[in-house]
Symmetry: C2
Subunit: 340 residues, 2 copies
Amino acid sequence: MAENLQVQLARQPEGVPRATDFQVTKAARPSAGAGQFLIRNMYLSLDPYQRGAIAGRHMGHTRLNQGDVIYGRCLGEVIESKHPDYKVGEIVVSESGWQQYFVSSGSAHDEVRKVKPEAPLSAYLGALGMPGLTAWAGVEKLAQPTLGDTFVVSSAAGPVGGTAGQLAKAKGCRVVGIAGGDEKCKTVIETYGFDDCINYKAKDWAERLKAACPNGINHYFDNVGGPMLDTLLTQMALYGKVIMCGLASLYNRTSDGEFAGNNMGPVVGKRAQLLGLVVYDYYDKFPEFQKIGARLMKQGKLAIHEDRVDGLENAPTHFVKLASGLNNGKALVAIAPEKV
Amino acid sequence: MAENLQVQLARQPEGVPRATDFQVTKAARPSAGAGQFLIRNMYLSLDPYQRGAIAGRHMGHTRLNQGDVIYGRCLGEVIESKHPDYKVGEIVVSESGWQQYFVSSGSAHDEVRKVKPEAPLSAYLGALGMPGLTAWAGVEKLAQPTLGDTFVVSSAAGPVGGTAGQLAKAKGCRVVGIAGGDEKCKTVIETYGFDDCINYKAKDWAERLKAACPNGINHYFDNVGGPMLDTLLTQMALYGKVIMCGLASLYNRTSDGEFAGNNMGPVVGKRAQLLGLVVYDYYDKFPEFQKIGARLMKQGKLAIHEDRVDGLENAPTHFVKLASGLNNGKALVAIAPEKV
């Protein structure tokens, strides 16, 4: 009987996964039934999101049980087909899981996408695959950097970070990577062609990053979250953008409460926008706003509620009340409200 | 000699300020010299930002020393003038500090703005003043809510939150406030006309908020930061916006390290944008991206670097390497890279 090598879950990993959390087994090699086609997988993509998917923390993925085939995308070749849309010899990427052979009916669940190879096949799982699309969406749809911008990306040696940086570079940005180790930084600079790369395991990495980005950071493509994000936020240029893409600092967490630094999970999941506001930017709009506001007041659509005290000598105790959150409405001291 | 009552710093507050941190003294009432004008202050505005300004933590404000007049805006009347642009009887708001009389030459530093009263004078320090402008900029320039959106604002009884909610209400939103106490919630609902208001001091406030926003929150105007922001992030609707305006949870902090919840100070100060990214939103763009990516590869502008292992049976150890951050480049398992 022909075999189909599979990797299944042996037990749920705790924290950083171990090899013993997996089991390699041999199943029978399947055949294509009516309306189905058989894929012989050539490459399996390993991606950080799979850690969360196994635990049921990644969107669209239920928690795996013992004996379940591990989640994963493969690139392969159609070798049998009883499906009108898929022909023998076609190259496809699918949600096959970690196995040699995969039978599909082309349902949405299997996420089978045909590939027209114009590059090395394995690239369609990396720089031209889901990681590459992630990078492209972040650069072209969200960050939208322009000539001369400083673009920083973490996990820069990986396919998301590496592709994001190269796309920004192709758009005329100064591109600085952050990666864990000198070996990775070498890849980032020599292979990907970034302008610089900071090894975040160096003690003075934050100062080095600052030196590499003397005008501040216009775009930070964040694949890490956590304390590194806290540091990056302090180095942003005015009106800078942070693309919240990955949270590698949290992927191996053992409980929901164990967040290091910023709790950004929902920002990613909800595709939220967080926008910093400083009123001084809008001072030239004061006349426009006051006209609108006064009109709304006359229409009864803008009411005020004041927490007043009389006499400047009472300002300190009234300020203590405000700073303690005990005021109700606008805190105000009437110094001499009537004309003298 | 005519007097000028002033409030000065007695000593730098630690944590929540106390009345004994201030001293009320009598100075000589000044006169307008050549090119100057004298303002008789009618109202002093007390605002949460003043806590940070006293400590030198608020932009444009240096740390105060003992005897310095406390920072603050006043609304007053010009009562003497030797300045061509300011006439006796005009109403102005200025950076006077906490005192009865203020002499100015109209320099940028004094931030004197004339007011043409179309509403109660004190409103020009609140709903029609800097707090109101803050609310208007957040609603009209950043959040830009539309008919039927759910708009939530914290510190809802205060002039920023109260005005923001009423502006959103005037634009056809469902508006829910968050405030500390039933008294404040009463103001928010009865005076400001919000649809609902949640007392965050109630144990089950997060569940109540969820019940008040059954379709999720499209806009969160955040005046608080900290753990409340963490909770709000989990209740955002897809593509929701958070306006990062105030960080009341941090204003009385005693050290820079003492951050509760999110460290959002720089997001506000830098007017940064944080944008959540989920690649699945862009799957329909795969063909477009792959065409661009393959072309960049042919032009030598998109290089790949792979961390490959041969044989599916080696996938578990290779995944452990990836999950430990030890891979350099795209992690990949070659199952059967050559055609058989």
